[in-house]
């Protein structure tokens, strides 16, 4: 492990209120006045981020994510602890800060980089790059007020990332503009990371977290409750949300032998007794599946308590946690109603394995409606892990078998 480029030690932020605001002002001058209430928005957070490492921060609203980012960015002052960074910290807490509608894109780029404390000659040097990254053509020299919001975001992002910082803090800013520009923004962030920028970002898109982060930190009510691999923390977080919404018995996590992490949570009125994958023709149980094979996924559910409705949902994910496919029996109109204790329900799912080679997992959820937020009986991440192997198709990569074929025609006589 190399020396962290950003280190946060026992960081805390308290919001204090005083009987009178004049008393607060007295307190700056060494007069000891008691505050009437104190609210810790964040406490005891310690974190080190190495060069080239990306750390995601997840948590519900009010968990302290933004407070943490603002403390690191330096717009808020900590009540205790400290933030230390080697090199420049850049924060994109909101895109387009300091932009002036009467200025052109170019003038705004000068203005906003000035607000970032960057010298004019450096900016002049980077200007062609900013202009070409924003890709808004001649609008770059028109007043900002004539821009569409998408164009404003393009310029804002190009300006905010014109100079590679040692530490980059991003708050929800990656989902800007159209799909093309989003892709491009992601690319630039990745490039920074490869060149050694430490990344720290907050997003509600858990897929982004899985795709970009090496490590995830879960904040809850101002405390750091978990830190670890993205799949582990994100699954734990999902289970925690379910627990918040309804009473869940417990959240348990086991790391399986092959590296997959199984997270189970739920109230337990119905549980998964068995989950098997078999060949549709031979009925043989499978650990690995051939591309294009007809297979059957069978789940046996045991009901422990009377429940009004039961919905089974599946999520199929690849090795890095990308969602490949998912649905549930609510969407397919197959809700089972009025179940009694002691019953068992068997669900079979028949499909052709049109997946690319690699490791995949099924995560079943037993719930009462279309999401797990109303009643979550049992949710098991990565309950069944299987391998897809390519034995009889030509070589291909990706998560999908497309059954595509080339046709080649050559013309000309040379």
């Amino acid at each position: 492990m190399n020396e962290p480029i950003l280190s946060v030690a026992r960081l805390g932020k308290a919001y204090r209120s005083y009987k009178s605001e004049w008393l607060r002002m007295l307190s700056w001058f060494g007069v000891s006045v008691g505050y009437s209430t104190e609210h810790w928005a964040l406490r005891d957070v310690s974190l080190g981020v190495a060069a080239g490492e990306a750390v995601g921060i997840v948590g519900q609203n009010g968990a302290g994510k933004s407070t943490l980012l603002k403390l690191i960015a330096g717009t808020l002052s900590p009540s205790e602890g400290e933030v230390r960074a080697r090199g420049r910290i850049a924060a994109i807490l909101e895109l387009g800060m300091g932009f002036n509608p009467e200025f052109s894109g170019r003038q705004n780029a000068l203005h906003a980089t000035g607000l970032m404390g960057i010298a004019r000659d450096e900016v002049a040097h980077a200007m062609p790059e900013i202009e070409s990254f924003a890709e808004i053509g001649e609008y770059f020299d028109q007043p900002l007020r004539t821009y569409s919001s998408g164009m404003q975001m393009r310029v804002a992002f190009a300006v905010a990332t014109a100079f590679r910082p040692e530490v980059l803090i991003v708050d929800e800013a990656l989902s800007v503009g159209d799909a093309y520009f989003q892709h491009k923004s992601f690319g630039r962030i990745r490039q920074f990371k490869e060149k050694g920028t430490a990344l720290l970002f907050v997003t509600h898109g858990l897929a982004d977290i899985r795709a970009l982060c090496d490590r995830v930190v879960l904040l809850d009510r101002g405390r750091m409750v978990r830190e670890g691999a993205p799949d582990e923390v994100v699954d734990y977080y999902n289970a925690m949300i379910a627990e918040r919404e309804k009473t869940t018995v417990a959240v348990e996590q086991i790391r399986l032998g092959d590296g997959w992490l199984r997270t189970r949570s739920g109230t337990g009125e119905a549980t998964l007794a068995e989950l098997t994958l078999t060949d549709a023709d031979s009925n043989q149980e499978l650990k690995s599946v051939r591309v294009g094979e007809r297979i059957v996924l069978t789940a046996r559910i045991r009901v422990h308590d009377s429940i009004p409705r039961l919905v089974l949902g599946y999520m199929l994910r690849d090795r890095v946690g990308n969602l490949v496919w998912g649905t549930n029996t609510w969407h397919t109109g197959q809700v089972v109603e009025n179940l009694h204790a002691g019953e068992t329900v068997e669900y079979t799912l028949c499909f052709t394995c049109n997946l690319g080679p690699g490791s995949y997992s099924f995560s079943p959820a037993l719930v009462s409606t279309d999401t797990h937020l109303e009643r979550n009986y049992e949710w098991t991440d990565n309950a069944l892990v299987f391998e897809v192997i390519n034995t009889d198709k030509q070589y291909f990569v990706g998560t999908n078998w497309l059954d595509a074929g080339f046709q080649i025609r050559r013309d000309g006589s040379h």
């Binding site: 960015a73 330096g74 607000l115 010298a119």
Partner: protein
């Protein structure tokens, strides 16, 4: 801390300060026909109203002024030149941090930049107004005397007083919003508590000392001396005021510095 007010930090951000001042000026010029002229027209129009109402309608005779029919208007303009710089600084600083709340929350930059931007644009406005007033003076046959060289010093003094008061009330206003309501009223009183629209001689001698509770009184007198009466200002009085202004400005900067860490918490 990068955001703590310090001038060295602000120097790195000079580009931002300059272009913010430019943005304010541009905002005045774009999409309005008279553009920047408005900032000169306003005080001139106000002086015209005062001159009309007080001198012509109410027939006020201001002793100590020549019988020149422009004299009163010129007297008014001299005082208002000082007052407009002072009141612009105070009014702008009053809501400065509240208006820029989101910027303060989202961007780390030396906070001193904000009052520096206000200072720059207020000063620029005032210089333009000064030029306009000199032109008005010239039209009424008043050529400025050599004592005009005092003007930069007087302006700097006004700046120090205005910025000192402005920063104090601006910081207070972040924490106690009532300040924002009180200050404009106090400014109104302040205007009439300075010999801008009248000469001190018409004030009963017992009340005259009251005028000198207003730090703007010596400055306004200084402007009138330099602009209209063609004589050097009362150096002793101004020296004394300089001390007051520096103490005021120093206190404001200390308060500002102490307040900075907690300011964002309550915005």
């Amino acid at each position: 801390m990068t955001i703590a007010p310090n001038l060295a930090g602000a120097w790195r951000y000079r580009q931002f300060i300059l272009s913010s001042i430019r943005a304010e000026i541009r905002a005045r010029f774009t999409r309005s026909r008279l553009g920047g002229l408005w900032m000169i027209v306003h005080p001139l129009a106000q002086a015209a109203v005062f001159a009309l109402v007080l001198a012509e309608v109410m027939g006020a005779r201001l002793s100590g002024l020549s019988s020149d029919r422009f004299a009163y208007a010129l007297y008014l303009l001299s005082g208002m030149l000082a007052w407009s710089l002072f009141s612009e600084l105070v009014t702008r600083c009053l809501t400065l941090f509240i208006d820029n709340g989101n910027l303060l929350k989202k961007m780390p930059f030396p906070r001193i930049c904000l009052p520096l931007i206000v200072t720059g644009s207020a000063l620029l406005n005032n210089v333009l107004l000064l030029i306009a007033i000199i032109v008005v003076f010239a039209f009424s046959g008043h050529v400025p005397s050599v004592h005009l060289v005092w003007m930069p010093a007087l302006m700097l003094l006004t700046l120090a007083v205005g910025l000192g008061v402005g920063l104090l009330v601006g910081v207070f206003n972040v924490f106690v919003r009532d300040v924002g309501q009180v200050v404009p009223v106090v400014l109104q009183f302040g205007f009439w508590l300075a010999p801008i629209a009248y000469t001190p001689d018409i004030v009963p001698p017992t009340l005259r000392r009251l005028l000198y509770l207003n730090p703007m009184t010596p400055i306004v007198r200084g402007y009138q001396d330099v602009m209209l009466f063609g004589r050097a200002p009362d150096a002793a009085g101004l020296a004394w005021l300089t001390v007051v202004a520096l103490v005021l400005l120093g206190a404001a900067l200390v308060l500002f510095r102490r307040a900075t860490p907690e300011m964002v918490d309550v915005l």
